[in-house]
């Protein structure tokens, strides 16, 4: 079947969210609203030590003083922070050793997502720390990892079991008062993942976590902390899908990465929160703070495929503190219908001979708005800093918008900075070229979009690339073969 562009557009608009379903698990939910008592209660509930409670309260007090940022190129109804329940945990909280003990309803959910835990366990060799609404209920492959001295657990467990590590690193990359949402997260985060790779260890498998928002009206505040000791390596995967909802849901996560000398962290994200229906109703607000710190010769690489959320506000960043450190950012952001995305990265060059690469691909369809916002900053002492940035936007239809806001600030003469941005549509000549060779228009568009995103898709780990492809298909079905 040959698609014309019109038909394709129509198909894109009418394509509904396939993964919208709701798992009925009894939840232990807090009353709506936020005050110091709630913060203390969350901390109590999680059986946290005193220093943690104090840390949360500090963050909460800072948050109260702060104002919600308005500089991003997105328009939305501001969430009412007093109308959100800040804690919800599945009722049954025993720790499972095997999958058989896990609530079958939960397993069913994952099956619908096409990521059944046992299958992954066997075939992909991926350890999955499942986060079902805030509390991690299953951790696999823990034993294998433990042999290598790798700690991979939920952050609340880490606070209890490894307080010295958490205390040392939590909030060092993203301080409590960093920004409005980071402060909120610091005060109320319910759970998240913690990962520690000891010196010189190469993590034998891809670590991955699945996040889901489940309880109606429950904001999700995840906190992730990854520490790679000297000379270690880890590849971390994070993926999200959320059930269909009518009211807007707030998601304000914080991810902190610490790569010590010669360490490497590869952090990949596939984000497919519910984007709202085709009238632009509902959908998740995704306000995320992600930042990594690189010491000498360290490398942090962010790869993201953003297809979901009604509003995305996300800038995975690298602070290149150590000499010879490397930061990378590869991103595909797809927006359709009424979605709005304001995403990009910050590369802060502090050390000498630091390098950074930014590849950002934006695809906008329907009436969506897709913005790239980036900062490349070269400090006066960062000799021989090198940056290459490329931001390409693809527009499908004339009701969407693509925006580029790159900030480049250089204070050192030896810096070499290149920035390129282009905006275009799928060329008629490109389609004609394909048609001429017997490839129909639908396939041609698929081919072109695929080629457009290839540079980023290639950076994803094998296990994830498949899923990323799948999500691109859902977001822009008909255009990806």
């Amino acid at each position: 079947m040959a698609y014309t562009e019109e038909e394709l557009k129509k198909e894109l608009e009418t394509k509904e969210y396939e993964y919208g379903f709701y798992t009925d698990i009894e939840s232990d939910t807090f009353p709506k609203g936020l005050n110091e008592d709630i913060v203390i209660a969350i901390s109590k509930k999680k059986e946290e030590p005193d220093w943690m409670t104090k840390w949360r309260l500090e963050a909460f007090r800072a948050w109260k003083e702060m104002e919600e940022p308005e500089w991003a190129n997105v328009k939305y109804q501001k969430p009412d922070f007093q109308n959100i329940s800040y804690y919800s945990a599945p009722n049954k909280k025993p720790k499972y050793d095997s999958l058989d003990e896990v609530d079958p309803e939960l397993l069913d959910t994952f099956k619908k997502l096409g990521i059944s835990v046992d299958e992954q366990k066997k075939l992909a060799g991926v350890a999955v720390d499942i986060v079902m609404d805030s509390v991690s209920v299953a951790t696999t492959f823990k034993k294998t990892l433990a042999e290598k001295g790798i700690i991979f657990c939920s952050i609340s467990e880490a606070i209890k079991e490894h307080p010295e590590l958490v205390k040392k690193y939590l909030g060092t990359v993203v301080p409590q008062r960093d920004n409005f949402y980071a402060a909120l997260n610091s005060a109320v985060f319910s759970d998240g993942s913690f990962c520690y790779i000891p010196k010189g260890v190469r993590c034998p498998m891809e670590l991955s976590t699945y996040f889901r928002i489940n309880q109606a009206g429950t904001g999700q505040f995840e906190r992730t902390l990854v520490i790679a000791e000297e000379g270690s390596y880890v590849s971390y995967l994070e993926g999200c899908t959320a059930p269909m909802r009518d009211e807007n849901q707030l998601h304000a996560a914080v991810v902190e990465l610490i790569a010590l000398d010669n360490a490497e962290i590869k952090y990949s994200t596939v984000q497919n929160w519910f984007p709202g229906n085709k009238e632009g109703k509902g959908g998740v607000y995704n306000f995320v703070t992600k930042r990594g710190l690189c010491e000498k010769h360290a490398k942090i690489s962010w790869t993201q495929v953003e297809t979901g959320s009604a509003v995305t506000w996300k800038y995975p960043s690298c602070i290149l503190k150590g000499d010879y450190s490397i930061g990378e950012f590869y991103s595909i952001a797809v927006t359709n219908n009424f979605q709005q995305a304001d995403t990009g990265t910050k590369m802060v060059h502090l050390g000498k001979n630091t390098k950074s690469t930014i590849i950002s691909k934006g695809i906008s369809a329907g009436q969506s708005q897709n913005s790239y916002r980036g900062l490349v900053q070269v400090n006066s002492r960062a000799e021989n800093a090198r940056n290459f940035s490329q931001c390409d936007s693809l527009l499908m239809g004339n009701r969407c918008g693509a925006h580029t806001f790159p900030y480049i600030e250089v204070k050192n003469k030896s810096a070499q900075i290149e920035h390129e941005a282009t905006t275009s549509k799928i060329g008629e000549d490109q389609i004609f070229y394909c048609n001429q060779r017997g490839i129909d228009t639908e396939k041609a568009i698929a081919l072109i979009v695929n080629g457009f995103s290839k540079e980023v898709l290639n950076k994803l780990p094998m296990e994830f690339a498949v899923e990323a492809q799948k999500l691109l298909e859902i977001s822009l079905e008909g255009s990806v073969g």
């Binding site: 527009l395 580029t404 900075i417 941005a421 275009s424």
Partner: protein, 438 residues
């Protein structure tokens, strides 16, 4: 009393000498209100993130010059492009100098805003064009509108072209220890008209000067306007240049900005394309040293289909100088087949110099070709070696490479004498004599 209060309170005194029933006066009154509400922009404003006016606000500027000064032509000759015959509109401390000027009403009008405001024969043009392109929102533009009284008035009727280029020269004598100037220019080129204009601000002493200038340019169908801004002022002279350009079908407007000296220069260059098949060109060369600061803030608004815009800004920054480039391209939904290109290349010569660049695209139409490129780097060592191995001294070799770097901006200058002049200024700045012209 800070500068804002001083300006607001002197508005009443300013009104005394004016015809308050003139329709323009309403614009002035609402403009001063806007300025009073907004005040000077601060670093908190996104558009002023990298440029601060705080230092200027602290200086006690005279708003109305007290003296009328006559200057001898021979003393200021070097600031004119005297190699060619031109019309001249010259202001000394904000006051028109008939002695140094050469105006005309022969087919085209090259004269003063003050006469355009007062004489009935210009009333219609003023009503149609005055303050129609300039922003009513931006506070510094409003400030200028409020005090708009004097400046250059150039009106080129249909199918006309002045016999020679026009020079606008603003001289500051330094009679006042600190002087604030607010020239207001209006340039209208009707359908199929053509005009070439060179503008320069020049302080004659080391006294503080702060110029907040607004220029409105209207290009009718098929009109061609070339506007050259020469900014090579004393290190105590600051300039905020707000230029608003409104173009109609098939018109061509080219603005070249040469920022080669001054304390603080801010160029707000705004193009509004209100027709089809329009061509807009924005080019600039910036070479700065010491603690100089230049901020190029450009906007090209593509509002109709089939238009083009070309931007090319080159910057070389030495010592503790700071350069800012903020280029914004907006492509409206209906502006299909837009071809917008923007380039900003910078060379940093010193570790104390800074460049902040923000090339920005906002695109709402799908069938467009928009791209921007931005680079920050240094002179190529291999190229330098190549030249030196052929016996060219290091200084000259460096100068040669910098020339080459800036060359394609100079290429499109259509007045050869001006090109030579700019060349000479650049050579002086780099401290070399080249044995050739570009």
């Amino acid at each position: 009393m800070d500068l804002k209060e001083k300006l607001v309170s002197s508005f009443m005194a300013f009104e005394d000498g004016l015809d308050l029933d003139h329709p323009v006066h309403e614009e002035r009154s609402s403009a001063i209100k806007n300025f009073e509400t907004k005040g000077f922009p601060t670093k908190k404003d996104e558009a002023w993130k990298y440029t601060s006016l705080r230092g200027l606000e602290k200086i006690d500027f005279s708003i109305f010059p007290k003296h009328e000064t006559t200057l001898e032509y021979k003393d200021v000759k070097k600031y004119f492009l005297h190699e060619i015959d031109t019309y001249k509109i010259v202001f000394v401390d904000g006051v028109y100098s008939s002695y140094l000027s050469e105006t005309t009403h022969d087919g085209v009008d090259v004269c003063l805003m003050s006469s355009a405001f007062s004489k009935p024969m210009f009333k219609q043009v003023i009503e149609v064009y005055f303050n129609k392109a300039a922003s009513k929102d931006e506070s510094l533009t409003s400030l200028n509108t409020a005090f708009s009284k004097e400046g250059a008035y150039i009106y080129i009727p249909k199918n006309k072209m002045p016999k020679k280029p026009i020079q606008i020269l603003h001289l500051a004598t330094g009679k006042e220890p600190a002087l604030m100037l607010q020239p207001r220019n209006l340039i209208v080129a009707e359908d199929n008209a053509e005009v070439q204009i060179i503008e320069r601000h020049q302080s004659l002493t080391g006294n503080e000067v702060f110029t907040n200038s607004v220029t409105e340019i209207f290009a009718g169908k098929d009109a061609i306007v070339d506007y050259y801004k020469v900014q090579n002022d004393e290190p105590t002279a600051s300039l905020v240049d707000n230029t608003y350009i409104s173009q109609k079908d098939s018109s061509v407007v080219r603005v070249h900005t040469f920022s080669l000296g001054g304390k603080l220069i801010r160029n707000n260059l705004n193009f509004y394309q209100n027709g089809e098949r329009i061509d807009s060109t924005l080019k600039g060369i910036t070479i700065l040293g010491d603690k100089q600061h230049v901020d190029h803030h450009t906007l090209v608004h593509h509002a109709q289909p089939n238009c083009e815009s070309h931007q090319d800004y080159k910057g070389i920054f030495g010592d503790s100088s700071t350069g800012v480039f903020n280029g914004k391209i907006i492509v409206d939904k209906i502006a299909q087949k837009t071809d917008a290109f923007q380039q900003n290349n910078n060379i940093l010569l010193s570790d104390k110099s800074t460049i902040n660049s923000k090339p920005q695209l906002e695109i709402f139409a799908d069938d467009v070709k928009c791209s921007h490129g931005c680079t920050i780097g240094q002179l190529d060592d291999e190229a330098l070696f190549y030249l030196r191995s052929r016996g060219i001294p290091k200084k000259e070799a460096k100068a040669l490479l910098m020339y080459a770097f800036a060359n394609n901006v100079l290429e499109s200058v259509r007045i050869p004498e001006l090109k030579l002049r700019i060349n000479k200024i650049i050579a002086d700045k780099l401290g070399v004599r080249m044995g050739f012209d570009l």
